[in-house]
């Protein structure tokens, strides 16, 4: 896309400066930032991943040894398993609930105030959200625990048991992201022409059929976007776990990024940590391609 291609208009250059120099002047700050904090670290990270380095002594080149270790490190794959478990708890439920909420918003809500309240959780830092739920689920004083104790369900362990910790964190993150994802679905629904619905109504389709047969297929590009970004985000979960469980109990919530973080900043194994981060990157690229392929990315059935 180059806008109006009929006329090619290049803004003129100030006296004495060649036009290419003007362009470079405009991008100079961004280029410095890009080279220093994106390009260089990406290359440097790759380089570090082939070394054994504790930050204090000089890095020692060890070839592919870190990568071989990643593949045989049971703890890494355990953390990968924990992450996948988290993603499986988080994504399907979150997507379904967001879609339902979006439908409800589409039919019932025009008020900005309601939309504002629904996205409030998304605007809060993961640290804050983690803190709030840690308090509400405090085994002794948490209000939700106290209320649960009064019901037949009884007290639950939530963060403090290996079985419940990951589902708990997943549900908290659903609480945080549901309104925002619903807003994205809702925005997508607004772009579906109302005539489509009217036609369905004339043909006597029920609301349910309309949703399944019209809304959902037409919404596919939004769904792909929401799911791909959610999965990529979920695979990188760190903040909330650092605040709530810090990997415990018994490593049941030690997700990949936390394990990488521990290797880098607690054990000072920079080479190994960067090697793992590269493997995570590769896995994410693979998942993205797979997911867009399966969900047939950008084609909406509207065309």
């Amino acid at each position: 896309m180059t806008g109006s291609s009929a006329k090619t208009f290049t803004p003129p250059r100030p006296k004495g400066l060649p036009s290419w120099a003007v362009g470079y002047l405009f991008i100079a700050p961004a280029i410095i930032g890009f080279v220093a904090f994106y390009l260089y670290p990406a290359i440097r990270g790759l380089q570090i991943s082939f070394t054994d380095w504790n930050l204090l002594s000089d890095p020692k080149f060890i070839g592919f040894q870190n990568y071989l270790e990643v593949f045989s490190d049971a703890k890494f794959w355990a953390s990968f398993g924990v992450t996948v478990q988290y993603v499986l708890w988080n994504i399907p439920l979150q997507t379904v609930l967001s879609l339902l909420l979006a439908v409800a918003m589409d039919r019932l809500v025009s008020s900005m105030a309601i939309k504002g309240l629904l996205i409030l959780p998304y605007l809060l830092s993961s640290v804050i959200v983690g803190m709030i739920f840690l308090w509400m689920l405090d085994p002794l004083l948490g209000i939700l625990i106290q209320w649960l104790a009064a019901t037949p369900i009884g007290k639950q362990t939530f963060f403090s048991s290996p079985e419940q910790a990951i589902p708990t964190i997943a549900i908290i993150n659903i609480w945080k992201h549901m309104g925002f994802n619903a807003l994205l679905f809702y925005a997508g629904m607004q772009s579906i022409p109302r005539t489509v619905y009217e036609a369905a109504k004339i043909d006597g389709a029920s609301e349910w059929t309309t949703f399944w047969r019209m809304t959902l297929p037409l919404l596919r590009p939004v769904t792909v976007f929401v799911m791909v970004t959610s999965v990529i985000g979920s695979f990188q979960i760190f903040d909330m776990i650092a605040v709530t469980t810090n990997g415990g109990p018994i490593d049941s919530t030690r997700v990949v990024v936390l394990y990488i973080y521990q290797n880098a900043f607690s054990f000072f194994r920079m080479g190994y940590a960067t090697a793992m981060s590269m493997v995570l990157f590769a896995i994410l690229v693979f998942f993205t391609l797979l997911q867009t392929r399966i969900l047939r990315a950008n084609e909406s059935d509207l065309d």
Partner: protein, 305 residues
């Protein structure tokens, strides 16, 4: 539109009580309640005195609301007074953290938006060798996960001697963000070129055109971008957590995490922690109150990229 529907339905009758609709309304009301409820618990806890915390744990309202927790975590009480009020002896001042968070956010929002706008303008309007290749590299950078960059960036900042400084905390963010450049370039491409051409004929140079014409015409997207960046920076945790090592540099999320772990008495100082949490939420409230519509639209837009 209504007329088509009426005509098409064979029998005109009063619609039955729409049970589905009522249920949907109830569900929606419930979700709104669930979205807001935890924030209320934060405020309620922050307003509860430490001595009443145990007795009122299951209550929805504080019996005797007090501001003492805010006073002590913001550093308005002496150490002795704070401890008497039930402080854990933790000395973090959330007031300093709030100032740090405000500076951190303001620096990033202002400089990142401005420098990204300059680059976006060049990518949209100017011609120079390597333009498209450079832009493509920016797009690729959008996909790299944070953790991949954070470790080498940490080493860079450490080598520059910028650990534990505001400079080190904002450095990776102030000069550009690939998303901001991409977002603004798309917008600049959609702007009509006529005004710029007219200015050119009047002898204005690109810097003047950018500053006097393009930027003022782009207020909407710039505000959208600034809102998204402000929320992201205010909430940023990982990077400041790596760089900030003591109270003079802590941002609010970092201060909250450190405050939580400083628990000489075993369990966290919940009333203090919730007062600090509420302080961190206030700007978000203000943002929603003052420009709620803008925020909602910005977030919708962030999905439309």
């Amino acid at each position: 539109m209504t007329s088509t529907a009426t005509v098409s339905s064979p029998i005109r009758r009063k619609p039955p009580i729409p049970i589905g609709r009522v249920l949907a309304f109830i569900a929606l009301a419930l979700i709104v309640l669930i979205s807001v409820f935890p924030i209320w618990i934060v405020l309620k806890t922050a307003l509860t005195s430490n001595s009443a915390l145990f007795a009122e744990a299951g209550q929805l309202f504080p019996s005797q609301p007090t501001l003492i927790n805010f006073q002590r975590v913001l550093g308005f009480l002496s150490q002795a007074e704070a401890q008497k009020a039930g402080g854990s002896g933790s000395s973090i001042s959330f007031f300093a953290a709030m100032i740090n968070s405000a500076i951190f956010t303001a620096l990033i929002v202002f400089f990142q938006t401005f420098f990204s706008a300059m680059a976006a303008y060049a990518f949209a309007r100017l011609k120079f060798p390597g333009r498209d290749a450079i832009f493509t590299m920016f797009l690729i950078a959008l996909m790299i996960p944070g953790i991949v960059l954070f470790i080498p960036n940490f080493i860079t900042i450490k080598n520059l001697g910028l650990l534990d400084s505001m400079g080190g905390m904002v450095a990776p963010f102030v000069l550009m963000s690939p998303f901001a450049v991409f977002f603004l370039r798309q917008f600049f491409l959609s702007l009509p070129r006529e005004t710029e051409e007219a200015a050119f004929l009047d002898g204005a140079n690109p810097f003047v055109i950018f500053w006097r014409i393009t930027l003022p015409m782009s207020q909407g997207p710039l505000v959208t971008l600034a809102i998204l960046t402000a929320i992201g920076s205010w909430n940023e945790f990982f990077w400041p957590f790596l760089i900030a090592k003591n109270e003079s540099t802590f941002t609010l999320p970092v201060a909250l995490q450190i405050f939580k772990t400083q628990t000489p008495q075993g369990s966290p100082d919940w009333t203090g922690l919730m007062a600090g949490t509420f302080v961190a939420v206030i700007p978000i409230f203000i943002l929603l109150l003052v420009m709620g519509r803008r925020v909602v639209e910005s977030l919708q837009f962030s999905g439309a990229k």
